[in-house]
């Protein structure tokens, strides 16, 4: 027990997962509030929603800023969640690492696409 560094380091203990745990909840709250905001705008729109009104919701600068925040929140949230799933169900470290890298690449690529769509409006 006296040696606690290098390969002998004990990697379990308090607070190791607190940041991700909290981030997952904060990002969840942001996305839930965004859902209400978007829903409110759809409901408050008068008449049938065609292309103009639908795209109009996302065209204002403040809505773009909020949607951008939600895209980043979603990526962080999904990363924590997917990492939890891999850690629970995939024991071999090598396969787990590959799946975690896949998760990151997948999320970053999707984020890039979503932001591109958002900002060329």
């Amino acid at each position: 027990m006296s040696v606690n560094f290098g390969s002998k380091r004990i990697v379990v203990g308090a607070h190791y997962g607190l940041r991700d745990w909290l981030a997952q909840r904060v990002t969840a709250a942001i996305m839930a509030l965004f859902t209400l905001l978007l829903l409110a705008q759809v409901i408050l729109t008068k008449g049938d929603i065609g292309y103009d009104k639908w795209a109009g919701i996302f065209s204002s600068q403040w809505m773009k800023a909020i949607t951008f925040t939600v895209i980043l929140s979603l990526a962080y949230h999904a990363w924590v969640g997917m990492r939890d799933i891999w850690m629970d169900y995939v024991q071999p470290v090598g396969i787990r690492l590959v799946l975690q890298i896949f998760t990151l690449v997948w999320l970053i690529a999707c984020m890039g696409w979503a932001i591109q769509v958002l900002w060329r409006l």
Partner: protein
């Protein structure tokens, strides 16, 4: 590996094929595992979600393509399959949201008991499935 990690005993008394089909999960357990399943579904279908966002919002032309996907399908995928996938996404989102709000509520209220766990789980399932049926009926043009 550390000495502690080496000594730690591993208990594997649940066999996925033998035990899981007969294991009677409580309602809260169903909400929990479905929270994971719905999250994973949305993660894997993320490109579909962004594609729907892209086509619906980019231009008049892409919007008409977005609408046509629900009427005549896209490529080899028929419209009913597109609707089914979207229905799956709607359920995933609603379940994940309801179960997530339940989670946040339980996190901030430390005194959670067995009764509350059961009742809130039932509410989560009824609410998410009910809303899925209502929105699904709209999606498939029943009203």
């Amino acid at each position: 590996m550390t000495e502690i990690a080496k000594k730690r005993p591993v208990f594997r008394n649940i066999n996925a094929l033998k035990d899981l089909p007969t294991y009677r999960l409580p309602v809260a357990g169903w909400v929990s595992i479905l929270h994971r399943v719905s999250g994973a579904v949305m993660f894997l279908l993320l490109p579909v979600i962004i594609w729907l966002f892209d086509t619906s919002v980019s231009s008049e032309i892409s919007f008409s393509r977005f609408s046509s996907v629900f009427q005549i399908g896209v490529g080899l995928i028929p419209a009913w399959l597109v609707k089914l996938v979207v229905l799956g996404l709607i359920w995933s989102y609603l379940h994940h949201l309801c179960a997530g709000v339940r989670h946040l509520y339980m996190d901030t209220h430390h005194a959670v008991d067995k009764t509350f766990g059961h009742q809130s789980a039932v509410v989560t399932l009824v609410l998410s499935l009910g809303l899925t049926v209502i929105l699904g009926a709209k999606l498939f043009g029943l009203y």
